[in-house]
C-alpha cells in the first residue's frame, strides 16, 4: 500500500479496492514502527486521522468525492492546526495549540484528505540540516548518519521512508527543494503569492512560500491543486486562477528551451552531483528539449542578500513571541523586561537567537540603509537576471544543492558553512519564482536533486517537465534500504 503513489491511491480509493480507514491505519502503523529511526514526525494524530478516514469513506461511498478524499498526508509543524499542537520545532511553541486552521490545512480538510500528524522541522524553519529542532534532529532514511536537509527535513524524510505518500512543506531559502534533493523525493516551491501564508508561522514574510512534497511530480501536481488558492486573509496572496496542474503533465517537452546557468556549474560543485544533473539534462535533450547556456551574473550575491533580508524580517516577525499571550513564559519573572528577555532566551534555540540578533543589527538605526536597503536593491538585480534569462528560455535547470547529504554534526559549529548549503536555491526565493527539485541520480549511495526553476506562475510547465523526465527515469521510484 505504501509504495503506491497518490495518483494510484486516488484510483484505488475511488474504486473502493480498499478503504481510507485501512490505508490510514497502515500508515499510522508504519509511523509507529519505523519513525523511531528517523524522528520525522513530532505529533501523530491517530484518533482524528481515523475519524477523518471514516468520514472520507462515507464521502467516497456517496460518489463525486474530490481527488484527495481519503488520502493520508502529513503537515509540516509550521501550519496551524485547530486543536493540535503546532510547535514550529521550537520550545517557544511546545505548548501552543492553535484555535484555528491555516488556510492550507483548511483546503486539505475540505478535500477530505486525512492528516496523520505533524512533521519535524528546523526551529522556526531556520536551518538546512534539521538539527535545530527542539524535538531532536531528523535522520536521512538513505543514510541515518547524514542529515535529511532542512528546514522541511521531517516532511522529506517521512515521504522518503513511505510514512506518508505526501506532505506539506515551506520554503524560504530552499527549505522544500534542498531536503527533497537530499532525501530523494520531489518537492515544489510555488511562485510567491500562489499558496496562502495565513496560519503558516512566519519566518521571512517576503520570501516564505508553502508547497507540497511527494515521490512524483504527478503527486506534487495533485497536492498543489488543493494547496494553491487565493486567500483574502493573506494580503500578499495573488488573485489568479489556479490551473489544473495535472492537465498538462503529459505534454511533450519537444522544443522546450532549458536554460543552464553557468554559475550553477562552477568549481565547487561535487563532481558526482554535476554528472547526475548533466545526465538528466541530456535525457531531456533526448526527449526533444533544447539546452541553452545562460548566465545569472549576480547569483553569488544571493547568499549575502538573503542573510540580511531573512534575518531582518525574522527579527520583526518573531517579536510577537514574548511570553505574554501564548507560547513559552519563563518561571517567576522579576518584571516585564525580565519576562521578555528570559522567555525569549529560554524559548528560542541558538540559531533562532543568532538570526534575531543579526536581523536586529541590520535594521537598527544607522545600519538600515547599508544592510536592508542595500540587500533589497541587490534583490532587484538578482530578479533582473532571471527576467532577462526568461526572455530566451522556458525553464532553468541545474543542481539543487552543491553535494549530497552531509554527515550530521559536521556543519553545526559554523553558521556560514551551513548557509552555503542553499547557494543554488536562495535566488529563486529572492526573485519570488517557482522552483522544484526531483531525484536525478545517486552519489555515494545518497540521492541527488535536479532543480527546475520556472517563470512566475509557470508551475504547470515545471511539473510537466519533471513528469516527462520521470517517465523515462526511475530515480524517483527507488527506496532507501529496508523501506520497500
Amino acid at each position: 500500500m505504501h509504495n503506491l503513489t497518490i495518483a494510484e491511491l486516488v484510483k484505488v480509493l475511488q474504486s473502493k479496492e480498499f478503504t481510507s480507514v485501512e490505508l490510514t491505519q497502515h500508515f499510522l502503523d508504519r509511523i509507529g514502527s519505523l519513525d523511531s529511526a528517523y524522528n520525522a514526525v513530532i505529533t501523530v494524530t491517530a484518533e482524528q486521522a481515523l475519524k477523518a478516514a471514516a468520514a472520507a469513506d462515507q464521502r467516497l461511498a456517496a460518489g463525486n468525492a474530490p481527488d484527495l478524499c481519503g488520502v493520508p498526508i502529513l503537515h509540516k509543524d509550521i501550519f496551524c492546526t485547530d486543536g493540535v499542537r503546532t510547535s514550529c520545532g521550537s520550545k517557544m511553541l511546545d505548548n501552543f495549540i492553535p484555535p484555528y486552521n491555516a488556510t492550507v490545512v483548511e483546503n486539505f480538510e475540505q478535500a477530505g484528505a486525512v492528516v496523520l500528524g505533524k512533521t519535524n522541522m528546523d526551529e522556526f524553519a531556520m536551518g538546512s540540516s534539521n538539527e535545530t529542532s527542539f524535538y531532536g534532529p531528523v535522520k536521512n532514511p538513505w543514510a541515518t548518519d547524514s542529515v535529511p536537509g532542512g528546514s522541511s527535513g521531517g516532511s522529506a524524510a517521512a515521504v522518503a521512508a513511505r510514512l506518508a505518500p505526501g506532505a506539506t512543506a515551506t520554503d524560504t531559502g530552499g527549505s522544500i527543494r534542498q531536503p527533497a534533493a537530499l532525501c530523494g523525493v520531489s518537492g515544489i516551491k510555488p511562485t510567491y503569492g500562489r499558496v496562502s501564508r495565513w496560519g503558516m508561522i512566519a519566518f521571512a514574510s517576503s520570501l516564505d512560500q508553502g508547497g507540497p512534497m511527494a515521490r512524483t511530480a504527478e503527486d506534487c501536481a495533485l497536492l498543489l491543486n488543493c494547496m494553491a488558492s487565493y486567500d483574502d486573509k493573506d494580503s500578499t496572496c495573488i488573485d489568479r486562477e489556479v490551473p489544473d496542474y495535472t492537465a498538462t503533465l503529459n505534454s511533450s517537452v519537444k522544443g522546450l528551451r532549458i536554460g543552464v546557468p553557468k554559475e550553477y556549474f562552477s568549481e565547487g560543485l561535487h563532481p558526482g552531483t554535476e554528472k547526475a544533473v548533466r545526465s538528466a539534462l541530456a535525457d531531456l535533450e533526448a526527449q526533444g528539449a533544447e539546452l541553452v547556456e545562460i548566465s545569472l551574473p549576480n547569483s553569488a550575491l544571493s547568499v549575502p542578500a538573503y542573510y540580511v533580508i531573512a534575518p531582518a524580517e525574522a527579527s520583526a516577525n518573531l517579536s510577537c513571541f514574548d511570553g505574554s499571550r501564548y507560547g513559552y513564559r519563563c518561571e517567576d519573572p522579576a518584571d516585564l523586561q525580565d519576562m521578555y528577555c528570559r522567555s525569549r532566551a529560554e524559548g528560542f534555540g541558538e540559531e533562532v537567537q543568532r538570526r534575531i540578533l543579526i536581523g536586529t543589527y541590520c535594521l537598527s538605526a544607522g545600519y538600515y540603509d547599508a544592510y536592508y536597503g542595500k540587500a533589497q536593491q541587490v534583490r532587484q538585480l538578482i530578479q533582473q537576471d532571471f527576467v532577462s534569462a526568461f526572455e530566451n528560455v522556458d525553464l532553468i535547470m541545474g543542481p539543487t544543492c552543491p553535494s549530497p547529504a552531509f554527515k550530521a554534526g559536521s556543519k553545526g559549529d559554523d553558521p556560514v558553512a551551513m548557509y552555503l548549503e542553499d547557494i543554488y536555491t536562495i535566488a529563486t526565493n529572492l526573485a519570488g519564482l517557482p522552483g522544484m527539485s526531483i531525484p536525478c541520480g545517486m552519489v555515494e549511495d545518497k540521492p541527488v536533486g535536479l532543480q527546475i526553476i520556472g517563470n512566475y506562475f509557470d508551475e504547470a510547465r515545471i511539473l510537466n517537465a519533471a513528469h516527462q523526465y520521470q517517465q523515462t527515469s526511475d530515480w524517483h521510484t527507488q527506496a532507501p534500504e529496508g523501506i520497500a
Binding site: 513564559r329 543568532r354 540578533l357 541587490v378
Partner: protein, 115 residues
C-alpha cells in the same frame, strides 16, 4: 565579490577566520537589549564571533554598485489590498485566552509594570 566556487569550497571561510570582523561587547549587549534576548556572560565572545562571521558574509553587498536601483519588497510589485470596512471576524476571546500563560477577567496578565 566572492565567487560561488570560493564560497562553496570554504576558502572564503578560511580567510575569514584570520581576519574576523569583531563586534564590540557593548554592541552585543545593545543588540541583546533591542532584541529582548537575555545573553549570559560566558557566551558573549562566542556570540560575537559567530555574528562577526555572518556579518563578514553579508558585507560583500557593500561592494555592489546599486546606484539608481530601486529596492524590491515584493516580487510582483503588489500593493496592499484594501477591503470594505466590515466586521468579518467574530470575537474569539475565550478560545484565544485559553492558550495564554495567565489571564484574569478577560485580560492577559503580565508582571507588574508600574511601581
Amino acid at each position: 565579490m566572492v565567487p560561488y566556487a570560493t564560497l562553496i569550497r570554504g576558502i572564503y571561510r578560511a580567510e575569514l577566520t584570520d581576519n574576523l570582523m569583531s563586534i564590540e561587547r557593548s554592541e552585543i549587549e545593545k543588540l541583546a537589549t533591542l532584541s529582548r534576548i537575555a545573553i549570559n556572560e560566558e557566551t558573549i565572545s562566542e556570540v560575537s564571533q559567530r555574528l562577526g562571521s555572518v556579518l563578514e558574509l553579508v558585507d560583500q553587498l557593500q561592494a555592489v554598485d546599486t546606484d539608481g536601483v530601486e529596492a524590491m519588497s515584493h516580487p510582483m510589485q503588489a500593493t496592499q489590498r484594501l477591503r470594505e470596512d466590515e466586521v468579518t471576524e467574530l470575537n474569539r476571546r475565550e478560545a484565544l485566552q485559553a492558550i495564554a500563560p495567565e489571564t484574569e477577567d478577560g485580560l492577559f496578565l503580565v508582571p507588574k509594570v508600574i511601581e
